[in-house]
């Protein structure tokens, strides 16, 4: 009996021998409950052990397995073969990033940008441990919760044409995470983040294409975070100009 099969066209780039990426087709058994990541693991285990890609948790938490599936940034652990079958599936590395090998991209630019927005709670003075934890009401948690769901998968960077055209752009996830800490009632670090967040390469570079929000697997809505940061920063400016006691 003929087993159903599916063909994956996968980007290959072997820096020691290739000057540019090429595509290699693999035909594998089709299983209804497989995701693209399962298919890649089948290829690596059974057909071609040299195929290189990143993955870890297999359950949409770690954010490692982001790739372009038929031209759309996806977590391959959440992209089911059945949604593409019986058509061929094109698997490419995340766009807008340099390629290290096959489906593995260089994320150092993103990591540096993420660090630059200081995505942690900043206090002007820490209160002593003896005074206990910083309490927060459910409403205060709700204010930033959505933006804290980011798993740093970088799909939003792959979806953002602004980042593709202007690599200096701080980018969706970094801004959303900076904004997340600005919204946190326990945080006092907004002023420290502003020089990076409100710079030309920060929020003002964004032209509101909104594709970051469309591809986000965690419904973080980075586009909203960026636009709301723009409004807040503009309000700062108005206050500093109109009010003698206004602060910058």
């Amino acid at each position: 009996m003929n087993e159903p099969t599916v063909t994956l066209k996968v980007t290959r780039y072997r820096p020691e021998r290739d000057s540019a990426p090429s595509t290699q087709a693999y035909t594998i058994p089709y299983r209804q409950d497989w995701v693209v990541l399962d298919a890649l693991n089948y290829i690596k285990d059974q057909i071609d052990g040299t195929l290189t890609f990143r993955w870890s948790c297999r359950m949409g938490v770690c954010g490692s397995c982001g790739m372009m599936v038929n031209g759309v940034p996806k977590l391959t652990c959440a992209a089911f073969l059945r949604d593409y079958y019986p058509h061929e599936i094109q698997v490419e590395p995340l766009q807008n990033f340099p390629i290290i090998r096959d489906l593995v991209i260089d994320m150092s630019d993103f990591l540096q940008k993420l660090r630059s927005v200081k995505p942690w709670i900043i206090r002007e003075t820490e209160k002593p441990l003896s005074e206990g934890e910083y309490l927060q009401t459910p409403q205060e948690l709700e204010a930033y919760k959505q933006f804290s769901m980011c798993i740093n998968c970088m799909l939003c960077y792959a979806a953002c044409p602004v980042y593709g055209l202007e690599p200096a752009f701080l980018g969706p996830a970094a801004i959303a995470l900076g904004y997340r800490y600005n919204l946190d009632s326990r945080d006092q670090g907004r002023k420290e983040r502003q020089p990076v967040m409100a710079s030309h390469e920060g929020i003002w570079e964004c032209t509101f294409v909104s594709e970051c929000t469309v591809v986000c697997p965690k419904d973080v809505d980075p586009a909203a975070a960026i636009q709301r940061s723009k409004v807040n920063t503009t309000m700062d400016w108005f206050k500093s100009v109109l009010l003698p006691w206004g602060e910058r």
Binding site: E16, P21, I100, R101, P161, T207, F208, V209, S210, D221
Partner: protein, 135 residues
């Protein structure tokens, strides 16, 4: 075994093609939204020239208005109207993303914010049209 270091020096930097905005429907709609501003800018320049003609007197104004009756200008104004409507629609659509409206401690659903914005826009447009026609 220093292979990874050697490989790292050979990163491949993909280039974004000039046709990137044709790759995806949302990119295309975004470019259309950006393009709309060009038509609106031209329309505003025409409006300024019209006001200048009005200031020069009835004769200059009539000559100017005659010129606008040519098919080219009529086509331009139809296209500019389409873009103005499209631009306004996208503006209100995006407003709900930027402005979080809270009522009674709860967030008003963004589609409702957009709908209210568009409703007010339509009502005001009709009022302005009626004022223009009958006052």
């Amino acid at each position: 075994m220093n292979a990874p270091t050697a490989a790292k020096s050979r990163l491949y930097y993909p280039k974004m093609p000039a046709t990137w905005w044709l790759r995806n429907r949302n990119y295309f709609l975004f470019m259309l939204r950006e393009l709309s501003s060009v038509f609106i800018a031209i329309f505003l320049v025409v409006l300024l020239v019209q006001v200048a003609a009005l200031a020069r007197g009835p004769e200059a104004y009539t000559t100017f208005m005659r010129r606008l009756e040519s098919p080219g200008w009529i086509i331009f104004h139809v296209v500019a109207l389409f873009f103005a409507l499209y631009h306004s629609y996208t503006w209100f659509d995006l407003t709900s993303k930027v402005q979080v409206v809270r009522l009674g401690g709860r967030q008003v659903p963004p589609p409702l914010v957009t709908a209210v914005n568009i409703g007010v826009w339509l009502v005001l447009s009709v009022v302005i049209l009626l004022l223009f026609l009958f006052v």
